[in-house]
Amino acid sequence: MKLSREETKKLIEKVISFSKADSISVSVSGGIKENIRFAVNNVTTCGSADTISVGISSNFGKKTGYIELTSIGDEDIKKGVQQSEEIARLSPENEESMPLLDKNQTYLNVNQYFETTANATPSDRAKTVSYVLGKSRERDLISAGYFETEDRFTSVGNSKGLFAYHPFTELDFSFTSRTKDGTGSSKVHRNFADLNRLKIEELTKTCMDRAVLSQKPIELKPGKYTTILEKMATCDMVGKLIGFMNRRSADEGRSFFSDKDKGNKIGEKLLSDKVNIYTDPQNPIAPTTPFTGEGLPLFKTAWFENGVLKNLFSNRYWAEKTNSPVMPYPANLIMTGTNKSLEELIKNTDKGVFVIRLWYIRTVDPQSILLTGLSRDGIFYIENGEIKYPVKNFRFNESPVNVLKNLTDMSKEEKVIGAETEYMKIIVPDIKVEDFNFSTLSDAI
């Protein structure tokens, strides 16, 4: 259910009017998501979901009760408010609970709503897919993919008069092309707020060229290689690293970012001085909701500057307790690149490996942020500045800290999606790193 700013405000005020608690916080989100899926060069499933969700958090002192509703009739709301109050009364005190934010919050102005995306019809989506499948048949490939558009809003309000509302559109588009003999495969994945940013023809060509090029890979010995990570692979390395940057875990001594003497590593140079990573909710290519679930404003934040750790994310409780700044979990990540192209990175490489995507990435050792995972969707051997031949996939055992420490070059940054960091909008360059550790071969394609 798509509600306007005014309708949402009224709904939140209504929820609050039923409250008998000391304070109450209400979040409302809703809208329509529609999708089409395809596989084996054919349409498979599809979907259209019209949803509304109301989260009610009632507080008695430091006791809190939370419930979620998916119906917004007066009786449902009344019952929901009562239920959250019952839970709150039954709950023990939470010493870490913080008072509600008041109405004096200033939010960044973010445009994340585009008619191009909001007005996309089932036929429009089918036509886009039809182009991809046409090319797939033409090039004798087998393709599978997904295309989703959404027209939604999110909002939060509380009994201290805070109210924030944000309408947004998003699209998610990806597909995989495989060669008929099953020995070649590649994938592209993008998401944008504005449908006009989706360059279907260019993406289709890139993906299908790579699928063909990756056919019949040759075995390369596992080991440490100079490696160029395509943006989709860089995306996972950067996204996974940021996931570990919780200030409390660091201060408490249970993280890579812990420091025995001063609590955490803020101010230390941990990565190559070429590395700059920041969050900016107003970035035009990766705009995000300008507030958190509790209504806290999001703002531009530096995480790494010239390889130096600048901030760790931290909630209001921990910030107050340690007298440090509140740092919301990053809504997006931007890693600054250069003006170089991917082709230039390859051209300047004597011997190395080029990886399109990573896959099934898991933490092996949280203390060193050692990750394991596989290469997927094309990996190639480079010699004398040229891609020589496709190689078999590898399993890697590597830490993003090492990767960004051993970084020697980058291309221009671009908005992409990795394999396992879909929940975050990330803009990254292709990166060239020394000594990337591939531990074993993997036969899968």
Binding site: T45, G47, S48, I87, L90, S91, A126, A144, E252, D443
Partner: protein, 535 residues
Amino acid sequence: MQRRDFLKNSFYTCCGVAITPALLEAGSKYNRYLLNGEVNPNFSGSSLSVDEYKKLCDIAIETAKKNGAEYSDIRICKNRNQRIGTREDKVQYISDGDNFGFGVRVLVNGTWGFAANSVLNESEVIKITEKACEIAKANSILQVSPVRLASVPSYIDKWTTPIRVNPFDLSIADKVDFQIRANNIAKTAGANFVNSFMWFVNENKIFASSVGSFIEQDLYRLWARTDVTVIDKTTGEFESRETFTQPIGMGYEYLLDYPYEKDVEQAVEHTKMKLKAPSVKPGKRDIILHPSNLWLTIHETCGHPTELDRALGYEANYAGTSFMTTDKLNNLKYGSDIVNLYADKNQLNGLSSRGYDDDGVKTREWDIIKNGKFVNYQTTRELAPLVGQDESFACAYGDSWSSFPIQRMPNLSLRPGTEKLSLDELISQTDDGIYIIGDSSWSIDMQRYNFQFTGQEFWDIKNGKIQGMLKDVAYQGNTVDLWNSCDKICDESEYELGGSFFCGKGEPGQVAPVSHGSSPTRFRNINILNTKEQI
């Protein structure tokens, strides 16, 4: 807290089963099946009566027919999730909520259409059904091989998970007390940090189809766990362990019967041991996998590659494909002769156990790997005809009213050895091995062939005796070599279930709960890695 945030914290470590035996119930834990028939008193999705739901279902099916559908079904679902989390002596979160709505699926010109809405009334049912038909028609321009469904009888039935204590009948305060007590035990035993959580799910759903079925189901499951961390102040190193509780298709009785406090104490004690334990020497060793570890290995190396949609390429863009392609059916020597892996959607306490799937097909048991040979896939009504079968194995599942039902993994388990063999006996027969308990990090490729798994505890076995603990262990290999190296499986007295709430698949992503049972099992000459040396 959003589910996504929760997943970020906990997705990587689904829990397993206890080392201590006899946790579930007295008697054999193997081969007990549910009897159909215990019935939920009413569908509590909203204030409507069953007759009113029936009427709305009929309207959907009529509307679909009028709009050209050759098949249609409607699911009205209410999913309740209650979650409670604590940290040391503090409550971190308490949340409860219903997710109610309906979804209509239609087949027009051999092409699927699907639409869903959280508001249920006559006019919305008509609107949504028309929308599903409109989408099917729009998409049918792409259709090159129309969907054909395996036949199914019509059923009018009810089914409920057999539970003794409904978790939703207990107060939040009781559940918080339970956790704080466990956290205190951990702190007293010497843990520096301790977190606990409980998660209770009730899936209440009505399914009606143009075949004439009307099925009401009331499903329950829970997951509770305590995680302890101990820091060595002198080195700054830390180690963690989780309790061996597992997500399971049971009521609160699971937690009442489980030796929870003992497990927490042991978790702390063993974490301290782990900090002092020697780092493993890499090389080839025999491994004995406890069910709390093996469930995940079964899930990844047998569960996923035998999903027929994966094998056919339907999941190529996300989860991946499968090395077990259709030419390997009835040909591939998947494992040694003693390896029998079977699927069973009626298994007692299984997370994916239910009476009917979301195609309205009655659930059953069948063989996937028989005497080491690959003999069957997992199927739905749409998939079965694609391998020449005229009956579905009932694996369709949509995780919400708003999700299109796709093929999801059934409970898939390893049959215990037929000869009497206890875990102690198996250890005593092992010269040079590692006994691995609990699951932790894992990774496997997109065709489910090359893998790397770790665990919670690793015990060094020399000359038939446990010598002490090891750390930094991972085992690595490929699916077929692993299962062909299997030479001993303990008997049914050691059989236990492990499982996950979150098997991920599909686009948009859906999660499904699933269990995997096994007895401790030995694999010979497996490649052991040292995870610390890899960096």
